[in-house]
């Protein structure tokens, strides 16, 4: 098990990692005290996935029948790296955080002492150890309860547990965390890009993503050209010579646009989950969109009754224009270029 801190500004994501299903080997904890570290080491010796304290008795049963086993398996999995005394124990899997390195060395020494004892002694010690194990089990239950209770606040630590045979230095662990993050985001992107579900492999997936982004950008370009060629129609339809007033017959179009906007502003939070399939959804509803004037006050509901008498559409445009003059400037860059410097 290892704890190390990585970029503190990624904290919200760290919580996501913690919520990842149980097959991942991350979990998020507080920076552990020495005792907690110890307990968790013991705990994870039993089972990597299920934090069951009930697992321990079953696990230790064989040793009684086998008699004296010089190094028990659990410590082989989780003991500190390269303790010379327990030469047969496999080195593994525990790097503690740099900030708590003092604690770490202390616990290492303690551990070492224990291992020495274990190696020297015979099977009579096994019983003793079993007793301590049972104590530890009860403490494990407590600590898991504590963990559950104190899970909410974000910390800068992610605990990674290296499997057997995996490198344990902090660089390798950081790299493993990074790869895990990348894999998760790839999965997220796979949900966003349509027709990407069956694609396997990072390279192919990246290809799909790149193609999709490119096609969308090309589409924006194409549509802006199309709108540029179509706009005179809207100009004749919608706007008077001074550009701000709508003629009465264009109320329908404006209302349609507004209703569309309303639908979109309601529907857009859904995009976060459903992805671009939403786009086709509201492209389909566009045709069936009814024309009604009741949708016009959608943007106006704060302003109260309009002082103009031109009809709904005209009032709407004038008011919004007063209201958002600055926003116009922001969006339409060519017309007022000097305001950005």
């Amino acid at each position: 098990m290892a704890a190390f801190s990585y970029h503190p500004h990624h904290d919200p994501f760290a919580l996501d990692v913690a919520d990842f299903p149980s097959d991942s080997h991350f979990h998020l904890l507080f920076p552990p005290t020495q005792q907690q570290q110890h307990q968790q080491r013991r705990q994870q010796a039993g089972d990597p996935v299920v934090s069951s304290s009930a697992f321990f008795p079953r696990f230790y049963c064989p040793f009684d029948s086998l008699g004296a086993v010089p190094v028990e398996m659990s410590t082989a999995n989780t003991s500190t790296a390269a303790t010379p005394a327990s030469s047969s124990s496999l080195e593994s899997a525990r790097v503690s955080s740099r900030s708590s390195s003092a604690q770490r060395s202390e616990s290492q020494r303690e551990k070492k002492r224990k291992d020495d004892q274990k190696c020297n002694s015979s099977s009579s010690q096994l019983k003793k150890r079993k007793n301590t194990k049972q104590k530890k089990c009860s403490r494990d239950a407590e600590s898991t309860n504590e963990k559950r209770a104190l899970k909410e606040p974000p910390t800068g630590y992610i605990h990674v547990r290296a499997r057997r045979g995996q490198a344990t230095d902090s660089h390798s662990l950081a790299e493993r965390v990074r790869r895990e993050k990348i894999r998760e985001r790839m999965k997220m992107l796979q949900g966003l890009v349509p027709g990407c579900d069956k694609v396997i492999g990072k390279a192919l997936l990246l290809d799909e993503i790149i193609n999709y982004v490119q096609s969308l950008q090309n589409q924006v370009e194409f549509l802006s050209m199309k709108l540029a060629s179509l706009n005179p129609v809207l100009y004749e339809l919608g706007l008077d010579s001074d550009g701000y007033m709508l003629s009465p017959e264009s109320d329908g179009l404006m209302a349609l646009i507004l209703q569309k906007l309303e639908e979109m502003s309601l529907g857009l939070p859904n995009i976060q989950q459903t992805g671009p399939h939403q786009a086709t959804a509201f492209a389909d509803t566009a045709d069936s969109c009814p024309v009604q004037d009741s949708s016009v006050p959608f943007l106006l509901h704060e302003e109260g009754p309009a002082p103009f008498h031109q009809g709904n559409g005209g009032n709407f445009v004038v008011q919004l224009d007063h209201n958002r003059e600055s926003l116009f400037n922001q969006v339409d860059f060519n017309s007022v270029p000097s305001s950005y410097h």
Binding site: Q214, L223, L230, S265
Partner: protein
């Protein structure tokens, strides 16, 4: 990270009830562009302006989420001309296929050149969503005009 997105505009989201203000901005910008440019009837210039407005409204729409791509997009749009690209010192080493693809993605996503891969992928997801919404809006406007 906590820099204001649009320093010229003190209140980028005047109506907190509408979650996507950028798309309203797009329609208003469209109206304004057609009012300005229609007499000249130059579709190329107009198209470019509409494209700028589309990207700007996208960026404004994403501004409350403080995504890096929206800041980069606004920064790019505010520059009048294409600024000289920052030269990067290239180590002559043959890149793998994945690395080439990453570079491609960095080129496509605004502001992606200086990101690490993790945040690049995150930004790509957000950018994709906004781009898809913008495309559907423009499609809808185009269709409702041409009818």
């Amino acid at each position: 990270m906590h820099r204001e997105i649009s320093p010229g505009n003190p209140n980028p989201n005047p109506n907190p009830n509408s979650p996507m203000p950028g798309f309203c901005y797009f329609l208003h910008a469209l109206a304004r562009i057609q009012q300005d440019v229609a007499p000249q009837r130059s579709p190329g210039k107009k198209g470019r302006r509409i494209r700028r407005a589309a990207y700007a409204s996208m960026a404004v729409a994403a501004a409350p989420r403080r995504m890096a791509w929206s800041r980069a997009l606004l920064r790019r749009l505010r520059r009048r001309s294409a600024s000289p690209r920052r030269k990067t010192i290239t180590v002559t080493r043959k890149k793998t296929r994945t690395e080439r693809q990453e570079d491609e993605l960095r080129r496509l996503v605004p502001g992606g050149r200086r990101m690490d891969l993790c945040s690049l992928l995150e930004e790509t997801g957000d950018y994709l969503q906004c781009l898809a919404a913008q495309v559907s809006l423009m499609q809808w406007v185009a269709r409702s005009i041409s009818e």
